[in-house]
């Protein structure tokens, strides 16, 4: 089967900075793919190359088998791109915004009017369509922002942080809508700072860091990468160096990292059961003033692979 969106060997350099390096993945019809990475990891640069805003230094992008570099018009016609910011005209109404972007995608006048009504219904804004966008709430703007990318019935929808700054009600409406579109066969590329959104919406996830895809797979596959080990975050007071040496040698501890002057991160099998041994090991050298046990999930995998939290 031809992938709806496939890229391979993508790289991009800005001066001395290699922003994206050898990035590649493929998304099948009806599949939702999440791209996760900390700020500055190369997500937006990758997306900019996928939608034709930036020319990659190397690599290629295929949309339903059409090469984006060779046939940009045909390839772009199959992509629905929702940028991170509200890329709409505040002085126009919601309907006028949709009409303008629909025209850019070549929709005939009469068909466009009908399609705008459908999209407004889809994003739940039929009753507010003729109000000025500048008077909309953040969530309503986000919904029109997504609606503008759906008018031409794209084969693949690219959503870059679609729920930033929206209220829980609008977030739910957006996620429900996105899930319906994927269920109807649309391919989806999704980036978000909210891990729970990615876990809910995406079938597969690629983790990008320092411009490279460092891991890719289903949620289950990614979580399995860090094994069944738990992450234990410790805050210590006293002889932290001496305590750290003891912790490294402790049975059951797979990995120990100093994360600050008084903080240590441990990776340990059955973290909750090791806690008494940890406290006993540092006894006499340091005092445990705070402890947090993080069981393996996508967030923990992300933390393990990139060394930083998603919202850092």
């Amino acid at each position: 089967m031809t992938a709806t969106l496939a890229c391979a060997g993508l790289s991009k350099r800005f001066g001395d900075v290699l922003a994206v390096q050898d990035v590649g993945f493929a998304i099948e019809p009806g599949e939702a793919y999440g791209l996760l990475g900390p700020n500055g990891a190369g997500k937006t640069t990758t997306i900019s190359m996928l939608v034709g805003l930036l020319k990659p230094a190397t690599g290629n992008v295929l949309v339903c088998g059409t090469d984006l570099a060779a046939e940009p018009m045909a390839a772009k016609a199959k992509i629905g791109y929702v940028p991170q910011e509200i890329a709409l005209y505040p002085e126009l109404t919601g309907r006028e915004n949709l009409r303008f972007f629909g025209r850019l995608f070549g929709l005939p006048r009469r068909a466009l009017a009908a399609r705008i009504d459908e999209v407004l219904d889809l994003v739940g804004l039929s009753d507010r369509a003729d109000g000025k966008l500048g008077a909309y709430s953040g969530g309503m703007k986000r919904r029109i922002n997504i609606g503008a990318a759906l008018l031409h019935r794209p084969e693949v929808l690219i959503l870059d942080e679609p729920t930033v700054g929206v209220d829980p009600q609008s977030r739910k409406a957006i996620l429900d809508g996105v899930e319906r579109l994927v269920a109807d066969g649309m391919a989806l590329l999704y980036t978000s700072h909210y891990m729970e959104e990615v876990e809910r919406v995406c079938d597969r996830v690629g983790i990008i860091d320092h411009g490279r895809i460092v891991a890719e797979g289903t949620r289950h596959e990614l979580v399995a990468m860090v094994g069944s080990a738990d992450t234990i975050e410790l805050m210590l007071d006293g002889d932290v160096d001496g305590a750290f040496d003891k912790l490294q040698a402790l049975e059951g501890v797979i990995e120990a990292v100093r994360t600050g002057t008084g903080s240590v991160r441990l990776l340990a099998e059955g973290g909750r059961y090791v806690l008494p041994a940890i406290i006993a090991a540092v006894d006499g050298r340091a005092t445990v003033i705070a402890v947090e046990v993080i069981e393996p999930d996508l967030e923990a995998t992300f933390l393990h692979l990139t060394g930083s939290k998603l919202r850092d």
């Binding site: 939608v51 034709g52 805003l53 940009p72 018009m73 045909a74 772009k76 016609a77 992509i79 791109y81 940028p83 991170q84 910011e85 509200i86 890329a87 709409l88 005209y89 002085e91 303008f100 972007f101 025209r103 850019l104 995608f105 070549g106 503008a148």
Partner: protein, 392 residues
């Protein structure tokens, strides 16, 4: 291909007309300023009246010829009065008391000296209170000087070839150095008959053309900031469509603005800017050049606010040095040359030629050509800038 261009243009036009800036910048302000300047400073120059003192100590053919020519000149009739005065001292006294505006003094033996090939000097007395009379007297003496120089050269050449002294005069006059005659041909000062309302009307039209077209290119940077430019670029449209769509509207509004200022100036002051076809062609060429220059600014600016500031500075510099704020003939000589480095200078020069001479399209073919060349050069640089920046 055409549809995305028209969609972008329609949106730009809608945005510009909805927020009212197009109406204010393109129509109200230039027309109001042109009208105010026209009423405050417009109208014809006051008629020239000058009395020139005439001190004839020579009493020879030369001075008589000058008096005869000046008195019979149709061009000077009613403008110039010659007043005979007995001496240079008397002329100076009359000048100081304001009885005369300037004086011409023929020294004793002037005709004889010129006839002998020794040349001669005619003195001009002028006063700061009557600059125009001084200009006229100097112009007359300039003509005398050229006749004297020619005559002196001819006499010297004859003597050098051994012609006897008593036959030189007859030989020289027979061979073309026609005596001590003086002719004053019609040669009106360029632009001298152009009403000042035309200057200020065309000046405001030329200045505001920059602001009108500049606003469209500025909005490209605003759209980049709000993300809509990238959204357009992600659509299946030609790369140039967003810029071309905005350029089309900016250019159209610019043409409407300059034409409205032209028509209003003509109607309010009852003056003509010249042949309508030629004026329209020249104004369109000016708007084209202004569009290309403001496009160049937008292609290099980092933000819309920066583009605004640069456009403002560029527009006023071009307007000042190009004669849009001060008529070119009021600028010093070197600034009149600097004016030709600006589109406003060529537009102003062209319009003065059209209004003053009554000529047609061929009269302004050079200014139009230069304006198109400026548009081509600035447009090329802007396109290269956009390719690297906004569309890179």
């Amino acid at each position: 291909m055409l549809r995305p261009l028209l969609s972008v243009a329609a949106l730009e036009l809608r945005t510009r007309t909805r927020d009212g800036t197009a109406l204010v910048v393109a129509l109200i302000v230039p027309i109001a300023l042109a009208t105010l300047f026209g009423f405050a400073l417009g109208g014809d120059d006051p008629p020239l009246r000058a009395t020139i003192g005439f001190v004839d100590l020579d009493r020879g053919e030369f001075s008589a010829s000058v008096r005869r020519e000046v008195m019979s000149s149709e061009q000077l009739k009613g403008m110039l009065t010659l007043r005979d005065l007995p001496s240079r001292q008397e002329a100076q006294r009359s000048l100081d008391s304001g009885d005369i505006g300037s004086a011409i003094v023929f020294p004793q033996g002037f005709t004889k000296s010129v006839g002998a090939g020794a040349g001669g000097q005619v003195a001009v007395l002028t006063s700061a209170e009557s600059p125009l009379a001084g200009v006229v007297a100097n112009a007359i003496v300039d003509r005398i000087s050229s006749v004297v120089d020619a005559r002196t050269l001819a006499v010297r050449a004859s003597l050098a070839y051994g012609v006897p002294g008593d036959r030189v005069k007859e030989l020289v006059e027979r061979n073309g150095a026609a005596g001590p005659g003086l002719s004053l041909a019609d040669d009106p000062m360029e632009g001298g008959k152009v009403d000042l309302s035309v200057y200020y009307g065309s000046g405001m039209a030329a200045l505001f053309a920059f602001f009108v077209v500049g606003a469209s290119f500025r909005s490209l940077l605003t759209e980049r900031r709000q993300g809509t430019l990238d959204r357009m670029r992600a659509a299946p449209i030609p790369r140039w469509a967003p810029i071309a769509g905005k350029a089309l509207v900016g250019f159209g509004l610019g043409v409407v603005s300059v034409c409205a200022t032209w028509v209003s100036s003509s109607l309010i002051f009852g003056t003509s800017w010249g042949d309508p076809v030629a004026v329209f062609a020249l104004l369109v060429a000016h708007v084209l050049a202004a569009a290309a220059i403001t496009m160049l600014v937008a292609s290099r600016a980092k933000t819309d606010a920066q583009a605004d500031g640069i456009t403002m500075v560029v527009s006023f510099v071009m307007a000042f040095f190009g004669g849009s704020l001060v008529p070119l003939y009021n600028l010093p000589g070197f600034l009149q040359k600097v004016a030709l480095l600006t589109p406003n200078g060529w537009t102003s020069t062209g319009l003065v030629q059209l209004a003053g001479s009554g000529g047609g399209l061929t009269t302004v073919i050079v200014p139009i050509g230069v304006l198109c060349a400026i548009a081509l050069a600035a447009g090329g640089l802007a396109a290269a800038g956009f390719r690297k920046g906004l569309l890179g």
